[in-house]
């Protein structure tokens, strides 16, 4: 008996250091994944518990199952209700993914125009001191404005349809891109310019071979900021005549007290924002692999 205890004790000896040892030998990614998964599970469980116990009126907070059902319904054709044989497709005459696509399309057009214009303006303002000095206060003014503050004016000018929304996104997105480009141009170390000049570069060659690539990391982070800003703006701008549009759907669903659909939209909006930003971050890592690695 005592021998058995002794054996057990010696066997548990290394095992005592085991949990820590084992935890350390786990790949860090796996450990982090496990932490995230358990926090997420706890959150969902709380949500489910609170709603299942009827602590909150489902009109204010529906349960996870209802939200999931709303999400599925918004992406499929289904009967209007259990007793009816009438079939409707999606929500507000479009599938949810079509609403999402409509919003993304607005962003794509508005931000593309903002990148083209913003980068060009940033280069001009960054390289020509006088020009930059004159325009900078106006750029700051525009950047400081909440875009929804001037949507009214844009509706007067361009109507209530897509054109005013795209203008809004363009005006919201180009100032941060221009700012980042200016900062990138002005932040180039003088010796970098001197190095290429003493290799015999003309003014134009300095721009093409050194100024532009040096500015690229700044431009890319400017675009990331602009896209994030444009996303919040488009969702809000779709409060007015925003169908199809994910923000419009969230708003209209709310006015019709379809809380599960509102929450499904919110989750989709958030996930789409994260996906957009991750895609841009990846693009940045591919386009400027030297960023953060190279000195001066």
């Amino acid at each position: 008996m005592s021998a058995a205890v002794a054996t057990a004790a010696t066997e548990s000896g290394p095992a005592q250091g085991g949990p820590r040892g084992r935890a350390r030998s786990w790949p860090t990614g796996l450990r982090r994944g496990a932490v995230h998964a358990s926090v997420f599970a706890a959150l969902m469980l709380t949500w489910w518990g609170v709603t299942a116990a009827s602590l909150i009126d489902p009109l204010f907070l529906p349960g996870p199952a209802a939200v999931w059902q709303a999400f599925v319904d918004a992406n499929t054709c289904h009967p209007v209700n259990e007793t009816s044989s009438r079939i409707v497709c999606g929500a507000q005459n479009y599938f949810l993914w079509e609403h999402l696509l409509a919003s993304l399309q607005r962003i794509a057009i508005g931000v593309s125009a903002a990148v083209a214009f913003g980068v060009l303006l940033g280069f001009l303002m960054g390289t020509m001191r006088g020009f930059g000095m004159v325009l900078e206060p106006y750029l700051n003014f525009l950047r400081a404005l909440p875009p929804l503050g001037y949507i009214g004016l844009l509706i007067v000018w361009f109507g209530i349809g897509d054109v005013s929304k795209i203008w809004l996104l363009f005006l919201a997105a180009f100032p941060p891109i221009t700012m980042a480009t200016i900062a990138g141009v002005r932040g180039i170390h003088a010796s970098r310019i001197h190095a290429v000049e003493s290799l015999g570069a003309s003014r134009w060659q300095v721009l093409v071979h050194v100024v532009f690539p040096s500015t690229l990391p700044g431009v890319i982070s400017g675009v990331r900021i602009a896209v994030g800003f444009a996303w919040t703006t488009v969702v809000a701008a779709e409060l007015n005549n925003g169908i199809p549009g994910i923000g419009g759907l969230a708003y209209v669903a709310g006015t019709q007290l379809q809380t599960p659909l509102v929450i499904a939209c919110i989750i989709v909006i958030g996930l789409a924002a994260i996906a957009l930003d991750s895609a841009l971050k990846l693009l940045g890592a591919v386009a400027v692999p030297w960023y953060g690695k190279a000195k001066a």
């Binding site: 003088a190 290429v196 190279a294």
Partner: protein, 300 residues
């Protein structure tokens, strides 16, 4: 003003001609045009800066200097004596307040391909591979792709980086980056080479190795070199002539020819009594320079 001893200049030229031809025949221009490296002349050069508070600082005061073709001129002096400012004016990065800098017959007004500059920081472009960095100068002049590839390979081999041509600069050590910068300047075939503390940021061992490599390269090419350094030892080891500048406003207070650099000499030079004597002389001059405008006169 003392110029380098005629004997040195003569030997320099005697060695320069054949070596130059051999090394340079691959360059697109005819060898005769590149074999000569022009003199550098500074006539009454001064430089004043106006500080933010509105004061005028005299950085360089009245420098007259004639640098012969093929000389290796090292400039030493206390910190802030204006030696880098002087070099920036030769490179064309800064206009002089007074006087003129000329390279050959031309007055310097802007940076140019004729004056290659090696900086203290490697200044390599991280968006290009090591090879593309070295190809950049010829590329700016429109040299065809195959030719400039050969140039880059040749000069990267010269500095011992042939294994690293396709790497990015930030994947190399500090010493290797500095070698790459030197290859980039050499591949661009400048008439004169200006070096601003190129080995200042390196560890002692790397620094000594690069000094030897630089001497070897200079012996092959015999380009005129201006080399700024903090290290008296480095100046005497590399230079055919050492200039000591005074504290601000900088002027040349010692112009010392160096006769040591025989064609076969290596690190053992440093233990020669002549080397030690020169080092003491130059150090004393720098020490004196620091006190020129101080309250206490130098006590000899």
């Amino acid at each position: 003003m003392t110029l380098a001893s005629p004997r040195i200049v003569r030997t320099a030229r005697a060695i320069a001609r054949p070596a130059e031809r051999n090394a340079m025949t691959f360059v697109d221009s005819p060898p005769a045009a590149t074999a000569d490296t022009p003199p550098i002349t500074l006539a009454g050069v001064t430089k004043d800066f106006v500080t933010d508070s509105g004061d005028t600082v005299h950085a360089v005061a009245q420098v007259d200097l004639a640098i012969e073709p093929g000389e290796f001129v090292c400039i030493v002096g206390p910190s802030g004596c204006g030696k880098s400012t002087l070099m920036d004016m030769v490179a064309g990065f800064l206009p002089p307040t007074g006087g003129t800098v000329s390279v050959g017959e031309r007055v310097v007004t802007a940076p140019g391909q004729d004056r290659g500059v090696v900086f203290q920081q490697p200044n390599l472009f991280p968006w290009m591979s090591v090879r593309h960095n070295v190809e950049l100068g010829p590329r700016l002049r429109g040299v065809r792709a195959r030719e400039r590839r050969e140039l880059a390979e040749r000069f990267l081999t010269l500095v011992g980086l042939e294994q690293f041509m396709e790497r990015r600069p930030y994947e190399l050590s500090g010493g290797m980056q500095q070698r790459c910068q030197i290859a980039r300047v050499l591949a661009n075939d400048p008439e004169v080479i200006l070096m601003d503390e190129p080995f200042g940021a390196l560890d002692a061992l790397t620094r000594e190795r690069l000094q030897l490599e630089l001497l070897e390269i200079w012996r092959q090419k015999r380009k005129t070199v201006i080399f700024i350094t903090h290290s008296v030892d480095e100046a005497i080891f590399l230079g055919t002539r050492v200039l000591v500048m005074s504290a601000r406003p900088g002027r040349v207070i010692l112009d010392q020819p160096v006769h040591l650099a025989g064609p076969e000499a290596g690190s053992e030079l440093r233990s020669l009594p002549e080397f030690v004597a020169l080092r003491d002389k130059v150090s004393a001059a720098i020490y004196a320079a620091q006190n020129v405008h101080g309250a206490t006169p130098v006590d000899h």
